[in-house]
């Protein structure tokens, strides 16, 4: 689906969304008449310091408006911009800043929904889609940490071997289904059905808890993470209690 198709499908009542280079920003009206903020990185572009600061600025403005309207983050990006200039300027701070702005927006009462409709990888994926309270995707989306050819280079394994291993586990290879099975993506939308009700359904779910590790365990893609994290919390709590009483 193209961005225009998606926006038309989501907001039949209309939207006012501006394209600024590799980014979009604006507002739309949902099927129930309520407003929603729309932001995004589009056209498979890189997310660097210049883009991250603009997007974060929009989020901060939204938080400052105190309207508590949901924020939809559309994502079709490449990875973070891999350049000397971006790293010289401290790209990690810019990407973290963008992620933090989305996390704060959620904590301040804005539902945040990521919609992955194209690619996204590595730092760009973490700073946008994975910083949303709920992440959904459209069929054909293709998230990755690293593509298989690069992974073959780093792991020094032939790509055929990697492909064979990828059949056995969802834990390392790029792809939408693997990200669903490991719990990172809540649901893949049905592109043959109207999109607006699917967005409404996401917004009806209660927000707040990070249940991605639990989902990953239920779906069999990430069996250990939730158990380990829960046990650490239990051990830390009981050890703190012992110290207080002992």
């Amino acid at each position: 689906m193209t961005l225009d198709d998606i926006l038309a499908g989501l907001f039949p009542n209309g939207s006012k969304i501006e394209v600024i280079g590799a980014m979009i920003a604006g507002k739309a009206t949902m099927a129930d008449g309520k407003p929603i903020h729309v932001l995004g990185i589009i056209q498979g572009q890189n997310l660097g310091v210049d883009e991250a600061i603009v997007l974060a600025g929009h989020v901060i403005e939204i938080i400052g408006s105190h309207d508590r309207a949901p924020i939809l983050v559309l994502v079709d990006s490449a990875s973070q911009r891999m350049s000397r200039r971006d790293e010289l300027l401290g790209l990690n701070e810019y990407l973290s800043h963008l992620a933090k702005s989305l996390l704060l927006a959620e904590a301040e009462g804005h539902r945040t929904v990521g919609l992955l409709y194209g690619g996204s990888a590595a730092g760009a994926f973490i700073a946008t889609a994975l910083a949303a309270g709920t992440l959904v995707a459209l069929p054909g989306a293709h998230p990755a940490v690293m593509d298989l050819p690069s992974m073959a280079r780093v792991t020094k394994l032939p790509i055929e071997v990697l492909k064979a291993k990828a059949e056995a586990t969802p834990v390392f290879a790029p792809g939408l289904d693997n990200m669903v099975r490991t719990g990172g993506i809540q649901i893949i939308w049905d592109e043959t059905a109207p999109l607006a009700p699917q967005l409404a359904a996401v917004l009806e779910r209660p927000a707040g808890r990070d249940d991605r590790d639990r989902l990953g365990a239920e779906r069999g893609g990430r069996r250990k993470a939730v158990d380990i994290a829960d046990r650490v919390v239990a051990m830390a709590t009981s050890s703190s209690r012992e110290l207080r009483h002992g």
Partner: protein
């Protein structure tokens, strides 16, 4: 008492193991580990690649005291899989941060990481996102999460994004912070963009001195475990609830950085703009001289 457990014995942070760093950082004998190596919670994924496992999956977590006050501590072991985040490794840190929220205890994260562990890339990537979310929740509850960076593997990839989420960062000259590593930039963009074998270029672009000078880190220390400990004690005394005002201040700070230095070609150009004397000489300065020279640096003033 072994050398590593005495806080007053010289120990290079860069050379030390994760366990040595913790021993040198906390009050002697105060550390107790959660999910230690005796439980053998290894990565379930490395055997697919015929790679060796480690019983702690390359991260040590637990609680201890620093100068008498209770803290939670996590230390990555850069010598195992480059300190990279896998499923178990990441979940241990996520759990520790969630516990911090419940217990209202400050957290020290001793970074030493190349980023996400590619053999379990999806799990590692999600762990980074979960950790960042847990840090934000803890900081909103008024808890300090302090990053210490000066290990062999540096603080790269997803690790650098976690660092950018911390309330304060302590670095040594060896503490490289960067999203894309030198080799990754060179592989993707060519040697003209970044020559990864040019060590001087790597240090001045990503190293602790440059990060400190542009406000990417808050405290600069010698490559000494005792110096990291003193800085941690100092950092733990500071408390500030993270909110919209802090986020706005960070936006301003990062916008200003782009305005001031956005056209710079090299770190030396930035140091020139900062008005440092003999900017080309910065990498050679010992810590005390460097700190005096750094008076005009961009101070983050805890806007992070």
């Amino acid at each position: 008492m072994t050398a590593a457990t005495a806080n007053n014995v010289s120990l290079s942070w860069y050379e030390a193991s994760a366990r040595q760093r913790i021993d040198a950082l906390v009050d002697a004998g105060s550390f107790s580990e959660f999910i230690g190596p005796e439980l053998r919670e290894t990565s379930p994924h490395l055997s697919i690649f015929d790679l060796p496992e480690q019983f702690d999956d390359g991260i040590v977590i637990g609680c201890g005291r620093v100068n008498g006050s209770s803290v939670l501590v996590a230390a990555q072991e850069g010598r195992f899989m480059g300190g990279a985040f896998g499923e178990v490794h990441g979940a241990k840190l996520t759990g520790l941060l969630r516990a911090a929220c419940t217990l209202k205890q400050n957290v020290l994260i001793l970074f030493d990481t190349g980023g996400v562990r590619l053999q379990e890339a999806n799990a590692g990537e999600l762990a980074i996102a979960e950790i960042m979310r847990a840090i934000v929740a803890a900081r909103r509850a008024g808890i300090s999460v302090i990053g210490l960076i000066g290990g062999r593997a540096g603080c790269y990839g997803g690790g650098s994004l976690i660092a950018g989420t911390c309330s304060r960062l302590i670095v040594s000259e060896q503490g490289r912070i960067s999203v894309s590593g030198p080799e990754v930039i060179e592989t993707n963009r060519g040697i003209e963009e970044f020559d990864s074998r040019d060590r001087a270029l790597v240090w001045r672009t990503m190293g602790g001195k440059h990060r400190y000078l542009i406000g990417g880190a808050d405290m600069f220390v010698d490559d000494e475990a005792s110096a990291f400990r003193l800085a941690a004690i100092d950092a733990l005394e500071f408390r500030r609830r993270w909110d919209l005002a802090v986020l706005k201040a960070e936006q301003k700070r990062l916008e200003r950085r782009l305005q001031r230095f956005g056209d710079a070609e090299d770190a030396v150009d930035i140091w020139q703009v900062l008005g440092l004397n003999e900017p080309t000489n910065i990498p050679a300065l010992p810590t005390d001289v460097f700190l005096r020279a750094a008076g005009n640096r961009e101070n983050a003033d805890d806007a992070r």
